[in-house]
């Protein structure tokens, strides 16, 4: 009997994974534990080992496919083994009735691909930033999310994402009746049909099902999607009809989906206003040179982080979160440091940045950036930020505007340090200047205190010995 290779669950919140590449080909002999494919979730990229020894008989999900957890992606067995039954079973299970064994798969499809892409749920106060899984979407935006145990149970049974539902209980808690109402209103469709609908952006309620009792099959979704495309093409694109220029479809993988939801949620929620300031970095440059001469290695970014940490300590409102009925000024200063990745970005957190020395900040940011690039960050490393700093100086930007990393209330965007003409004491001189841009949440921080915070950073950077 051949062994199924399934999309493994690699984290509590994981609902789906993307197959990046197959490391073994059909017909290859593999040992148990041999890496056979590489996958990516919203948090990590990882090689997965073979669940059993044998021959890789058949790969059923290809590279680039987004696959819900527990779904079969390949079979391993004895060379020449007949797996036509298993393949038939796989095909039929994706088109079988909604009851029975197909429920778990359905549940995953619903929460992963089919759920409405509302903002991401916030857990209490400063925790939880980029790690929120894609499935954690929900209907309302602010405050914590509650659901009764029974609602979760009933939702799981019916393959619904409880977090995507609007709650009618106290404090918006999702209770049983909300789940039952949602289940009642949902079009009946196979798990595969839901995935195809999500991928093609087809609204299932607009699709006519050809299955028993109007159940929607994959072919119905594909037909509906093709119909929409055809209609659009006929109307708009006659001139270019002869030139084959196909769109490229990039699956919305975990991390992209999370960023996408979180950025939208941030702009939808916070009242984002921006202050800009230009800092004369002469003294900072001088100090860094002297430290370097003394064989103490620190980067400009480390010095800026230190200045931010100090200023957050004197301006606690910048280090706060807005809850339903209070502004919580965080006791600890944990600065998120945005790190660009090939396919997205992640914001590891420099914990207790105000307590670290410059060298401490240097080694910790180096460690976090390295882990971020190799996909080795643990949950600890990117949770609990209270303020963020994004530095794109290396791209030669004068300055830029960043979007707040919710639930934080401010983010500092750091531009390049460039030699520019400056007027000093009535004379035109050349100075290394750096553009800082602070995005803050005007719901809780007004213009003047935000400006004072920015000026505090400027003062520290222009007198950097205060940081030592």
């Amino acid at each position: 009997m051949a062994t199924k290779v399934i999309m493994p669950k690699q984290g509590l919140q994981m609902t789906e994974g993307t197959i990046i590449s197959w490391l073994a080909a059909e017909g290859d002999t593999v040992k148990e534990g041999d890496p056979i494919f590489e996958m990516e979730t919203d948090k990590l990229t990882i090689e997965i080992g073979a669940p059993a020894a044998g021959t890789l008989l058949k790969i059923v999900r290809g590279e680039g496919d987004v696959v819900p957890i527990t779904e079969t992606i390949a079979f391993i067995g004895e060379a020449g083994e007949d797996i036509s039954d298993l393949l038939a079973e796989l095909e039929s299970s994706s088109e079988s009735d909604e009851t029975g064994e197909t429920e778990p798969a359905e549940a995953i499809a619903e929460s992963g691909a089919g759920g409405p892409s509302g903002p991401v749920a916030e857990s209490s106060a400063p925790a939880a930033t980029t790690e929120q899984a894609a499935g954690g979407s929900r209907a309302t935006s602010d405050g914590p999310f509650y659901s009764s145990p029974r609602a979760r149970w009933k939702a799981e049974e019916r393959g619904l994402d409880v977090q995507a539902l609007a709650g009618s209980g106290p404090e918006g808690m999702v209770i049983e009746r909300d789940v039952l109402a949602a289940a009642e209103n949902r079009p009946k469709a196979t798990p595969l049909a839901r995935i195809h609908a999500a991928e093609s952006g087809t609204d299932l309620s607009s699709v006519e099902g050809t299955g028993p009792r109007g159940k929607i099959y994959r072919r119905d979704v594909d037909a509906a999607a093709a119909g929409t495309a055809a209609a659009g093409g006929a109307e708009g694109g006659r001139m270019f009809a002869a030139i084959p220029r196909e769109d490229r479809s990039i699956p919305l993988t975990g991390m992209r989906r999370t960023i996408s939801a979180r950025m939208r949620e941030s702009l939808d929620t916070a009242a984002q206003a921006v202050h800009r300031i230009e800092v004369d970095m002469s003294e900072t440059v001088r100090m860094r040179e002297r430290l370097k001469a003394a064989e103490v290695k620190v980067s400009y970014n480390d010095i800026i982080l230190k200045a931010v940490a100090e200023s957050l300590r004197t301006h606690p409102r910048m280090n706060s979160v807005l809850t339903e009925d209070a502004i919580i000024e965080h006791g600890r200063i944990n600065i998120g440091v945005a790190v660009a990745l090939d396919e997205g970005l992640i914001v590891p957190v420099l914990r207790d940045a105000d307590l670290l020395t410059l060298q401490g900040i240097h080694s910790e940011t180096r460690r976090l950036a390295e882990l971020a690039r190799t996909g080795g960050l643990s949950q600890e490393d990117y949770q609990g930020g209270t303020f963020s700093v994004s530095n794109l100086g290396m791209y030669d930007l004068d300055s830029f505007t960043a979007i707040i990393n919710r639930p934080e209330s401010g983010i500092l965007a750091v531009g390049a340090i460039k030699e520019k003409p400056a007027a000093v004491d009535g004379e035109l001189v050349i100075r290394p200047l750096c553009g800082l841009s602070l995005t803050y949440d005007h719901r809780i921080i007004d213009g003047a205190p935000a400006a004072d915070f920015l000026r505090s950073i400027k003062t520290l950077l222009e007198n950097p010995y205060l940081l030592l």
Binding site: P149, S168, I175
Partner: protein, 326 residues
């Protein structure tokens, strides 16, 4: 079947068990010539004589100790408490002796002992004659605790209690003695301990009620039904052992529970039942389990105030709607 009052059902079972087993006898205050303040032993002394229906001095610790000794040496005493409030006088005998002797003797002693009497409100008997004592006996390991809410249950459970080889707290209710219903005539009619009774079927909320509160819960269920809420009313009948399965089975269906007893709410049996529901049936719950019980004050003398202190039909009705988010 014969239609009987709750008090008569108890008297009849005692008489039948005494006829069937000569080791069964009764001790207590004013049970002989008077036949008990509530008539639960009326006529027994005439039939069985003063040796087997023994009037005692007003010395609860003394006759409980005597009963324990008798039980240890092979008799099956039924100790009558005119008011269960008086068990507090005999607590050392009950909690330090009766509850523990089988354990202390390494399982080689058995203690077929029934402590029965009435408790609760209904007569304006005030603070030291209206209390509910069950929580003390469910807390200390060693007792079984039964709380019949109907005449038929009183008969069936009392027979099981008398035939049990362990101490049983048999808790009756003064306000139920005058209620009547059809009771099986079969002298072997017995209700096993640990079997709850579903008094009314419903799908929306489970109301778990004991003793006097069962009737009030059923009344509340009527009102709820008129408003479109179908309440399931369950009477555990015995608190130890507790039929958790029946409760969970119901809550799996309804998702909501209200636990109501006449005893004080704070640290009461309702807290234990609610906890067990949460420990074993958390995923079924759509709302926090609500407890109802007497307010934390001494039971008053005034009949009006009695009912202001313990849960009433309206309280149960409100709580049930609350857990249904209505």
């Amino acid at each position: 079947m014969s239609k009987k009052k709750y008090s008569a059902a108890i008297k009849d079972v005692i008489a039948e068990e005494m006829r069937a087993d000569s080791s069964v006898f009764v001790m207590g205050e004013d049970i002989g010539a008077l036949g008990g303040v509530f008539g639960c032993t009326r006529g027994l002394q005439q039939e069985f004589g003063k040796e087997r229906v023994r009037d005692t001095p007003i010395a609860e610790a003394g006759y409980v100790g005597t009963g324990i000794g008798a039980a240890l040496t092979g008799m099956r005493p039924i100790l009558d408490f005119m008011y269960l409030d008086f068990v507090y006088v005999a607590m050392d005998q009950l909690l330090n002796q009766a509850a523990k002797l089988r354990y202390m003797y390494g399982g080689r002693a058995s203690l077929p002992l029934v402590i029965r009497g009435q408790q609760g409100i209904g007569r304006g008997n005030a603070g030291t004659h209206s209390q509910s004592v069950e929580a003390f006996f469910t807390h200390i390991p060693g007792f079984k605790v039964a709380m019949p809410s109907t005449a038929s249950d009183a008969a069936g459970l009392l027979r099981t209690a008398i035939r049990d080889n362990n101490p049983v707290m048999f808790i009756e209710h003064k306000a139920l003695y005058a209620t009547s219903e059809e009771v099986p005539d079969d002298p072997e009619f017995a209700i096993p301990f640990g079997q709850a009774a579903v008094r009314r079927q419903g799908k929306d909320v489970t109301i778990i009620a004991t003793s006097l509160m069962v009737g009030r819960a059923l009344e509340a269920a009527e009102k709820l039904a008129a408003e479109g809420i179908e309440a399931e009313v369950i009477d555990p009948r015995t608190l130890l052992p507790l039929d958790l399965d029946t409760l969970l089975h119901s809550i799996e269906k309804t998702g909501r529970a209200v636990v109501v007893h006449e005893a004080h709410k704070n640290n009461g049996v309702g807290a234990e039942i609610a906890s067990q529901i949460m420990e074993s049936g958390f995923k079924y719950l759509d709302a926090p389990v609500v407890r109802l019980g007497a307010k934390p004050c001494t039971l008053p003398f005034s009949l009006v105030l009695e009912n202001a202190v313990v849960p009433g039909v309206e309280d149960i009705h409100t709580a049930a709607k609350q857990v249904c988010y209505k």
